[in-house]
């Protein structure tokens, strides 16, 4: 039994080592040229787009549009974690099938539904936040519901549940689990490989593997283990807000969700889960959000409770419509139209409070 603390100690040392050795060694005033694959989706503003290149915030003109997976060559000067006067020297579009698939699915959403419905579906199912209209994004942030349209671990859980539910009808348990694992990782790749998604994918994989092997699954340990694995591979995530929030939120959920659900049994069924989840997550997340953004909406758990129940069906319909849409846009569109009442509910509630 003694090896366990040692194991964790080893992981922590490894993380620190990786973090120190991979830290980019440029300082303010350095002129640099970076070639890098864009590892998460750029955020688009009216006239510019924001990328993280070499851990530096880089604002480039809106055109040419850069997408997740593209390879960019950028020149500029380092200043306080930003690359100023950046110049795009070269841009090679992503060639991978998955990158293209993701792009096509999002385009099909945009062809099928008006804004902000299409970007809501794209955000919920694929964590794509680039197409979200500015005012709707503000409303999402003000109401504390932005987490549903950025890649979140909840999506992975939903997709995993959906996949297992379907696969188990056709395959043996073991095969279903293996296929679902593959599905989860393809999905995380499609969703832009953001920290929260990867976190959920790793945890899901651990849980499924444990199930497959007939081992006991300890969620708490899985949470720390996924954090360790992620930080060893991507030490820069240590300072990534999405990464931190994802772990704190999941931890708080594990600790408090059940207790809160028991306390609020008077709330109608459809809203109860949303309320208990968001209350539990807020316990850990609220202080961090307040410290980072200086704002926090006290009504946020209530708003979340009102809208969260729509997310599961929207995700499932979006995912199914996305895949079918690759074959027939018309068919994909008719499935997406079914989500319209739900997205309307979500959007109207958020606008009413935002």
């Amino acid at each position: 039994m003694t090896f366990k603390p040692l194991f964790w100690l080893f992981l922590i040392i490894l993380i620190i080592g990786r973090f120190v050795t991979t830290r980019p060694d440029f300082s303010n005033g350095d002129k640099i040229r970076i070639t890098e694959k864009v590892s998460s989706e750029p955020i688009r503003y009216e006239t510019s787009q924001r990328l993280i290149i070499g851990r530096l915030k880089t604002y480039l003109p809106k055109f040419p549009e850069i997408n997740y997976g593209d390879i960019v060559v950028v020149e500029g000067m380092v200043e306080d974690g930003k690359l100023i006067d950046p110049k795009l020297v070269d841009l090679n579009f992503a060639t991978g099938v998955l990158y293209k698939t993701r792009k096509r699915i999002i385009e099909n959403f945009q062809k099928s539904l008006p804004e902000p419905h299409s970007s809501l579906v794209a955000g919920v199912t694929l964590g794509s936040k680039s197409g979200i209209p500015q005012d709707f994004w503000e409303a999402l942030r003000e109401t504390g519901t932005a987490h549903v349209v950025v890649a979140s671990g909840m999506n992975v859980t939903l997709v995993a549940g959906f996949l297992i539910g379907i696969l188990i009808l056709f395959f043996s348990r073991k095969k279903a689990v293996i296929l679902a694992l593959i599905g989860i990782w393809i999905y995380s790749f499609l969703s832009g490989f953001d920290a929260p998604i990867v976190r959920a994918a790793i945890m899901g994989s651990i849980a499924f593997t444990a199930q497959g092997l007939g081992r006991l699954y300890a969620a708490g340990r899985a949470l720390f283990l996924s954090a360790a694995i992620m930080l060893i591979i991507r030490p820069d995530w240590l300072t990534d807000l999405g990464f931190i929030l994802s772990f704190v939120a999941t931890g708080s959920l594990m600790l408090f969700e059940r207790k809160i659900a028991n306390l609020i049994r008077f709330v109608p069924g459809i809203f109860r889960e949303g309320l208990s989840t968001s209350l539990a997550a807020q316990i850990g997340v609220a202080p961090i959000l307040f410290a980072t953004f200086g704002q926090f909406n006290l009504l946020s758990p209530v708003i979340n409770a009102l809208v969260l129940w729509t997310i599961a069906p929207i995700t499932v319909m979006g995912a199914v419509a996305g895949m079918i849409g690759l074959i027939s846009i018309t068919l994909g569109k008719s499935i997406l139209l079914l989500s319209f009442p739900l997205t309307t509910w979500f959007i109207e509630i958020v606008k009413a409070f935002g």
Binding site: E107, L338, P341
Partner: protein, 289 residues
């Protein structure tokens, strides 16, 4: 079984929402608030005509506000002339909507964004229409009577060719002078859509005899004094004038133009002050929403 019923309920709700959102039998003419630029949307039943797309993607929000959610087809997109404050948003329009006819002139623009629009249009399956003075585009009861540019005007260009492709020729002239000018007509209601034309072209337009009494005028060139003239007002006698303008460094709209409209007691609306300007007509009278 539970899912099946939830699905059926959703289908029912969608049908009700679609019925509720379906358009009335009036013409809605909306000057979209897209900042400095033009984007004018005409909605008549299931038919939409979009004239210009503004400088940025703001036009998408306008389309989504005024089109039924299940309608992703725009029958006509008309680009008056290839300048960014008129075509900037059209790229996103072609990405998101099915466009049946793209009406434009074949003047080219060397800007990178126009080149990318051309390739999007080419791949979209939209039919191209290059109209000149005297032609009419008809969609049900809606008519677009084309006033400008004339065949003679285009023929004066050295490298003008009749090739029916986008960007077939370049010109030393100001692109504004090539603006497609059209009268949108529903029975007795006429709206003059003027692009960015200036005094010189206006004189030539008046000589074509194609302009007449209208109810609505889109003030040319965002209210620049290098735009609307007394003569045009004398001949068109509009009741309402709409200026599509946003924050800009040119001083648009110029006070000379505002005074011109004031003198004649023409009702004036500006997108920078009034937001979207929606005029509704049943083909006889018109009113502001």
């Amino acid at each position: 079984m539970k899912y099946f019923f939830s699905g059926l309920i959703l289908v029912a709700i969608v049908i009700w929402m679609a019925a509720f959102a379906s358009p009335d039998r009036n013409l809605h003419l909306i000057a979209c608030d897209v900042g400095q630029g033009d984007a004018i949307l005409a909605v008549y039943g299931e038919i939409q005509i979009l004239v210009d797309g503004g400088a940025n993607d703001e036009v998408i929000n306008c389309l989504d506000r005024y089109m039924p959610f299940s309608d992703r087809k725009i029958e006509v997109v008309l680009l008056s002339h290839p300048q960014l404050d008129h075509f900037g948003g059209l790229r996103e329009v072609f990405r998101r909507f099915q466009v049946e006819y793209f009406v434009a002139n074949s003047l080219d623009s060397s800007s990178q964004s126009y080149q990318s629009l051309k390739s999007l249009v080419g791949g979209s399956g939209a039919s191209l229409v290059f109209p000149t003075t005297g032609s009419t585009i008809r969609l049900g009861l809606l008519h677009l009577d084309i006033v400008w540019p004339s065949d003679d005007f285009l023929a004066m260009e050295d490298n003008f060719s009749d090739n029916k492709i986008l960007g077939a020729f370049t010109s030393k002239r100001d692109p504004n002078e090539f603006s497609i000018v059209a009268i949108l007509r529903l029975e007795e209601f006429d709206a003059l859509l003027t692009g960015d034309i200036g005094p010189e072209v206006i004189n030539e337009i008046i000589q074509t005899d194609k302009v007449h009494n209208v109810e609505y005028i889109k003030v040319p060139h965002h209210g620049s004094k290098n735009g609307l003239t007394q003569e045009l007002l004398d001949i068109t006698l509009p009741e309402v004038a709409v200026i599509s303008v946003g924050k800009n460094s040119y001083g648009h709209p110029h006070k000379e133009i505002l005074e011109l409209l004031e003198e004649r007691e023409i009702l004036m609306k500006r997108t920078d002050m009034d937001g979207d300007i929606e005029i509704i007509s049943d083909g006889e009278s018109w009113w502001i929403n």
